[in-house]
């Protein structure tokens, strides 16, 4: 008898962990070659290789779950734990940048002029585009919840519409933030203000792009009938990630844009 007698998933051997690790090597050494020698070939290869690895690895997870039926309840539980732990690790990642911001802004040194924002820095008006960005992300939190409930009620048309709206709002946020970046009177090299501002908001923006991509993948899968009204963990993982991105923005807005101006 060759069939397993347990509910867990014994994964086929896969080359993607290896190609992922090699891509990471190319990315890191590629960054060094770019920073120090203006040489971009290694970095470009690393970016392409990591994108291909991610595409194929996650394509295989979809195949294993949706097409091969390996995502039994205990397996799904493990996937849920995994996503939660990953998001917690990302919270710690952002905690570092917030620590750096509060370290410098709570007790401004003589080098900044003894106050925050430092002398010479003209911060963005928190009541203009940043406030719009807040509204956009909060609205996207509503639309994704609507999409989820529609999905659970097997309402295909509404869940697709709501998901599309969420993606559009995410793209709109990215567009607004990019235009704000071109409007700032300060750059990343303008002292500690510039560093903390762009590192924190920059990584947040990257996570918005990642989240939007995840949502777009969910939209395609929804159109291909991958989700059922009771089993759609991929969508739930994307929704959790999206809410996390929204919450990070709220902290950013209140700390850096509002209190820090």
């Amino acid at each position: 008898m060759t069939h397993q007698t347990h509910a867990y998933h014994m994964v086929n051997p896969s080359p993607w962990p290896l190609t992922g690790a090699l891509s990471a090597f190319l990315l890191t050494s590629g960054l060094i070659m770019w920073f120090h020698f203006y040489y971009t070939l290694l970095l470009a290869t690393g970016l392409l290789a990591s994108a291909m690895t991610m595409f194929q690895w996650w394509r295989d997870v979809v195949r294993e779950g949706t097409y091969q039926g390996h995502h039994t309840p205990p397996v799904q539980k493990g996937l849920r734990y995994g996503m939660v732990l990953f998001i917690i690790s990302e919270i710690f990642f952002f905690a570092g940048f917030f620590w750096a911001f509060y370290h410098s802004s709570l007790a401004p040194t003589p080098q900044t002029g003894g106050h925050w924002p430092p002398t010479g820095i003209l911060p963005l008006n928190p009541m203009e585009v940043p406030l719009l960005n807040t509204a956009v992300l909060l609205a996207s939190g509503v639309t994704i919840t609507w999409a989820h409930h529609s999905l659970m009620e097997a309402n295909r048309k509404e869940s697709a519409q709501a998901l599309l709206m969420t993606i559009a709002l995410g793209a709109y946020f990215t567009y607004l933030q990019m235009s704000e970046y071109s409007e700032t009177s300060f750059t990343i090299s303008d002292g500690i203000y510039g560093s903390t501002f762009f590192m924190a908001t920059g990584f947040h923006g990257l996570h918005v792009i990642i989240g939007t991509t995840f949502l777009a993948t969910c939209y395609i899968r929804q159109q291909m009938y991958h989700f059922t009204s009771s089993h759609h963990f991929g969508f739930e993982a994307a929704a959790w990630y999206w809410h996390f991105v929204d919450v990070v923005w709220l902290f950013l807005y209140i700390s850096i844009y509002w209190w820090g101006s």
Binding site: L42, L48, R63, T66, Y67, Y225
Partner: protein, 91 residues
Amino acid sequence: MLRNLLALRQIGQRTISTTSRTHFKNRVAEKQKLFQEEDGIPVYLKGGIVDVILYRATMILTVGGKAFGMFEGAAYAIYHLAVASFPKKQD
């Protein structure tokens, strides 16, 4: 020749889809059959020839890239060490 042209026109009409652009057909059952075939092929190759092409391309990019990167890195490091070993005399 005109007869052939007419036949071509008929085929064209028959193959036009009647579903709207945004409607996908539910092909999950077909995919399930394909990926559950007991042929010993691992999941990362089970989709067909495109899987094999993508896999080979990824391996070439990464393993080849690593080999090239290490060689290049070593070459750069040795070059810069050599340059540093013979400092230019300050006038």
